[in-house]
Amino acid sequence: MEELLLIAVASAIVNNVVLSQFLGICSFLGVSRKTETAVGMGAAVVFVITISSFVAAVIYKFVLANDYLMSRGIDLTYLQTIVFILVIAALVQFVEMFLKKNVPSLYQSLGVYLALITTNCAVLGVALTNVTKEYGILESVVNGFATAMGYLIAIVILAGIREKIEFNDIPKPFQGMASVLLTSCLMSIAFMGFSGMI
């Protein structure tokens, strides 16, 4: 239990997925114009990463690194990149269809962002990190959920700041993306402060 909590805090706050590992930068910068959309995007990411890290961990344990095959000298783990990206792409499509049919209210709020997530590098990044760190299934799910929560926290904070500075008088070359990147730089410095926690 204590170990799971440590994993969660470490990946949500200390090694924040966006601000210290630079995964999912595109959507972090692109979809953070308004707090509402940032929350929608963040929620969709939490949803997808949690499910995908579970599915990827199950596939890795029972198919790629299968004990039976391993004992016979057949090591399929080299297929992980291909398998994970395909599983994630298919999974996102499947989740989208499932929500559209069965939970239309959730689809209304998350649907737009789901398609965007297919090739979000954070999703694949988490699946691969789980393998590198040799996490089991439960640990993988916790790590995935916490990483995605870190993304949610970061994108909502950034959107809040962007709403505040939208009408500021900023010198011409600094307008737009440059000021957003400077904001992320300051946020990244703030999050470095957590590194003493663990």
């Binding site: 910068l29 509402e36 291909i82 395909l86 737009v112 962002y113 590098c121 440059a178 000021s179 990147l181």
Partner: protein, 242 residues
């Protein structure tokens, strides 16, 4: 200038993916803590890009339009796996410092973007040169950013001590995460400045593409998201303004 040379020039200078188009921001920020890492990442991406352009262009008439994205992803993922194992075997220290970012070449927007916008419509030879040009342009961008960060953060370039530590105190933050954002921010500022200058001269630069600007034309993921998220955000902003 023949067509192949034009592709090289286009990739390295005119539509440089890092400096002008602002694509592939994840690796740009993540691996530029030193010039050497930038070089390694740039060259491995180039290798994947050249071969993916070659294969996709060769099979462009066979791959059905409806499943082209999954087909591209499988091709790119196979190539990335090959590159990953070659680097594991021959450059183990680079593999350690690049870590998870090597397999993540799969989701680099530049590769899918070139497949979608160039290789799937053009013959093999120009596609190969397009891959070389774009890949080298990416490498040059990464090395430049890496050199700035390494110089300010450690006083070194490619591991050689340029600024003597007798008088230079390394600004360590530049080789850490915030430094990446800071250097990229000032790069964007510089490019905005140059862009305005060139426009005044009547020689406008190519427009930045990708999520950074909300313009989806250069992004390989546009097929799966078709700009939905970005345009929805823009619409909402407009509504609120009214």
């Amino acid at each position: 200038m023949n067509k192949n040379m034009e592709r090289l020039y286009n990739g390295i200078i005119k539509e440089n993916p890092v400096l002008i188009l602002m694509l592939g921001m994840c690796p740009t920020l993540a691996v530029t803590s030193s010039a050497m890492n930038g070089l390694g990442m740039g060259l491995s991406t180039t290798a994947v890009l050249v071969f993916s352009n070659l294969i996709i262009s060769a099979f462009r008439k066979i791959i059905p339009d409806g499943v082209r994205m999954p087909a591209y992803i499988v091709i790119v993922a196979s190539l990335v796996t090959v590159v990953q194992f070659l680097m594991n075997a021959y450059t183990p220290s680079l593999t350690d410092s690049l870590g998870v970012y090597i397999p993540l070449i799969v989701v680099n927007c530049i590769i899918l973007g070139r497949a979608e916008s160039y290789a799937s419509k053009n013959p093999v030879i120009p596609s190969i040169f397009d891959g070389i040009g774009m890949g080298l342009g990416f490498t040059v961008g990464l090395i430049l950013i890496g050199m700035v960060r390494e110089l300010l953060g450690a006083g070194q370039i490619f591991g050689f001590q340029v600024f003597s530590l007798d008088w230079f105190t390394p600004i360590t933050i530049f080789v850490m995460a915030p430094g990446a954002f800071l250097v990229l921010a000032f790069l964007v500022v510089g490019m905005n400045f140059v862009r305005a200058k060139m426009e005044a001269k009547g020689k406008p630069l190519a427009k930045p593409a990708g999520c950074l600007t909300g313009d989806c034309t250069g992004c390989g993921h546009a097929a799966s998201c078709s700009g939905k998220a970005v345009s929805k955000t823009a619409e909402q902003t407009e509504k609120k303004m009214e």
